[in-house]
């Protein structure tokens, strides 16, 4: 009697398990299918008229023209590589500076004693909940004022994108500061104190003790900043300079299906547009979704 019940229970458990995995796999499939379909469509001649991934009529035309950007500012010779480089001219400084400045701010907030700490923390939490929309118009007025416009409205490297990355120098991303604060708090303070007793300075503690421990977390924050900067659309749209400085997010929407651009072109270019994002995500994800480094993102 007892063994029979056990058997039924085990059977029930197995059915349950199979059901769970089936559900998870179907869900993953549904979520990723549009992306796979797009890859198939980039090899398809004409509009894709089937649900299946495989192209109806195979062509390499789309990928042959994938880097060309006909119609971008009506200038011959502009390529998507140039648009990618324009994108990187704000993504790189934004990611590097913001990671460092918010790390430093969080270090001060969690590892140092000073008057007014509570107030600073309250400000950080308040700005975390403030919608960006409220800052956008006055910041636009600021960057386009006579004083500032000459600094960035040019075609030098990096500078034309200053409004998109200047905030990185000043730890304006409250979410990164907040995440770093949570992570710092999870590291026992004894670690620092041992180093201080051995005669280390504040910066030696940060550099030689905390940063090595925090490496996965730093990579996580940097990855999130990279993704959000790379995907930014409204920023580049508002601070649009010369046509030659257009990043991917401004060039790609102008290259729809028309007499020169086929469906295959549009799909291939879109895939090129996110290629770097995919590469960076997969090279950094072992620090991110693969482990528990998200454990400090708590309410």
């Amino acid at each position: 009697m007892k063994t029979k019940k056990n058997l039924i229970n085990r059977h029930k458990k197995n059915v349950n398990k199979t059901f769970k995995y089936t559900l998870l796999i179907i869900a993953a499939f549904v979520m990723l299918y549009p992306l796979l379909w797009i890859i198939g469509a980039s090899f398809n001649d004409g509009p894709k008229s089937s649900f299946w991934i495989f192209p109806d009529q195979f062509t390499l035309e789309g990928w042959k023209g994938a880097l060309k950007a006909p119609g971008w500012g009506s200038v011959e010779g502009y390529s998507l590589l140039r648009a990618l480089w324009n994108t990187l001219q704000y993504v790189i400084p934004q990611t590097l500076f913001m990671t460092f400045s918010t790390l430093l701010t969080a270090f001060v907030m969690t590892r140092m004693h000073f008057k007014g700490k509570k107030l600073v923390f309250t400000i950080i939490i308040t700005t975390l909940l403030m919608p960006n929309t409220i800052f956008r118009i006055p910041m636009f007025a600021f960057w386009t004022s006579d004083l500032m416009i000459n600094v960035w409205d040019n075609e030098l490297p990096f500078l034309p994108f200053l409004p998109l990355w200047a905030g990185g120098l000043f730890a304006v991303n409250s979410f990164s500061v907040f995440m770093f604060i949570q992570f710092f708090r999870s590291i026992p303070i004894d670690l620092d104190e041992a180093a201080y007793i051995d005669g280390a300075s504040t910066f030696q503690v940060l550099w030689h003790v905390l940063i090595p421990v925090l490496k996965p977390i730093i990579m996580t924050v940097a990855l999130l900043l990279f993704i959000s900067s790379f995907n930014d659309y409204q920023g580049p749209l508002i601070y649009r300079g010369a046509t030659s400085t257009y990043p991917l997010s401004l060039v790609l929407p102008t290259l729809g299906v028309d007499s020169i651009n086929t469906y295959a072109h549009v799909y291939a270019r879109s895939i090129f547009g996110v290629l770097l994002l995919i590469i960076v995500f997969f090279s950094a994800q072992k620090y991110f979704v693969g482990n528990d480094s998200d454990s400090a993102i708590k309410g």
């Binding site: 956008r136 118009i137 636009f140 007025a141 120098l169 007793i197 998200d294 309410g299």
Partner: protein
């Protein structure tokens, strides 16, 4: 800490402080200040609250679009936020129950969050939802006749809502972590008492993670009220302004067509006040439904 110089923390906070003053405090008050002015025949004049009055006047230049934008945005937020919370919580719950290959599933479910906000993918969303697109091809497999997604108000709204719900990854990761922190002993005790899995979910899991539901809910609320990319690139606000969200109207007024930073500021402030009212309301209500451990 030991032998720390008193001035050092203040010096190290200077970058953050400049950032707060220049990028937060100044624009915050300046947008309020700007909203009290108006450009009349080339001259900027102080008009008091007139811009705000005009926003709620159907016959003013932007009043109709603005009030429509409010309605559209509210619909989008009230549908999207609960959907994101439910989907991400369910997925996180299944993944938290000793599953092999969690890493694979977490990555798979996170990929749309990485790519879904990118302009390249948003553009393709349009092709996926067009009449001959992937969605209708899929429906036809089940014998369902094609739907004009982007041609109807309802369908267009669904396409932009789905684009956002598809990116539930970060919300899911935060839930997943919270679920792992629910003490295993609670479940063991409940199992011994004969509680079913369903009642364990509603009586243990849900109450234990209410603080995280609050956090995720507020973060997503603030974010979705400012939605822009999807409607701007997929539906262009159409058909007939049925997906013209507030942030699109603000962009139109201030940057693309109107060049009217003053009315735009007034709109931003109304949006800000609405978000704050919702946020404060949720926080106030939290004492009735959020469970805090001490």
């Amino acid at each position: 800490m030991v032998g720390q110089k008193k001035w050092l923390p203040y010096v190290l906070l200077i970058p953050w402080f400049i950032g707060f003053l220049v990028f937060k405090l100044y624009p915050f008050f300046n947008s309020l200040y700007m909203s009290l002015f108006k450009r009349i025949q080339g001259q900027v004049k102080y008009v008091g609250l007139q811009n705000y009055v005009d926003l709620f006047d159907k016959n003013s230049t932007w009043g109709g679009l603005f009030m429509n934008g409010l309605k559209v945005t509210a619909t989008y937020v009230l549908v999207t936020v609960p959907l994101i919370l439910i989907v991400s919580l369910l997925v996180a719950y299944v993944l938290s129950r000793k599953i092999k290959g969690v890493g694979f599933f977490r990555t798979a479910y996170y990929i749309p969050t990485v790519l879904g906000a990118n302009v390249a993918v948003v553009i393709l969303w349009r092709y996926i939802f067009e009449y001959e697109g992937l969605i209708n091809q899929g429906l036809s497999l089940f014998g369902i006749s094609p739907v004009s997604w982007l041609g109807t108000a309802f369908g267009a709204m669904i396409s932009i809502v789905l684009l956002r719900v598809w990116q539930f990854g970060s919300t899911m990761l935060i839930f997943l972590n919270a679920l792992k922190n629910v003490p295993e002993t609670l479940y063991e005790a409940a199992t011994i008492d004969g509680a079913s899995k369903t009642s364990q979910f509603f009586r243990i899991t849900l109450p234990m993670i209410t603080p995280i539901i609050l956090f995720n809910g507020v973060m997503r609320l603030v974010e979705t009220f400012q939605v822009f990319n999807g409607p701007q690139l997929i539906t262009q606000g159409g058909p007939l302004d049925s997906t013209r969200v507030l942030n699109m109207v603000i962009y139109q007024v201030a940057f693309s067509g109107g060049q009217d930073l003053y009315t735009g500021s007034a709109m931003s402030w109304v949006l800000f006040i609405i978000i704050m009212v919702f946020t404060i309301g949720i926080f106030k209500s939290s004492k009735y439904w959020v469970y805090y451990q001490d």
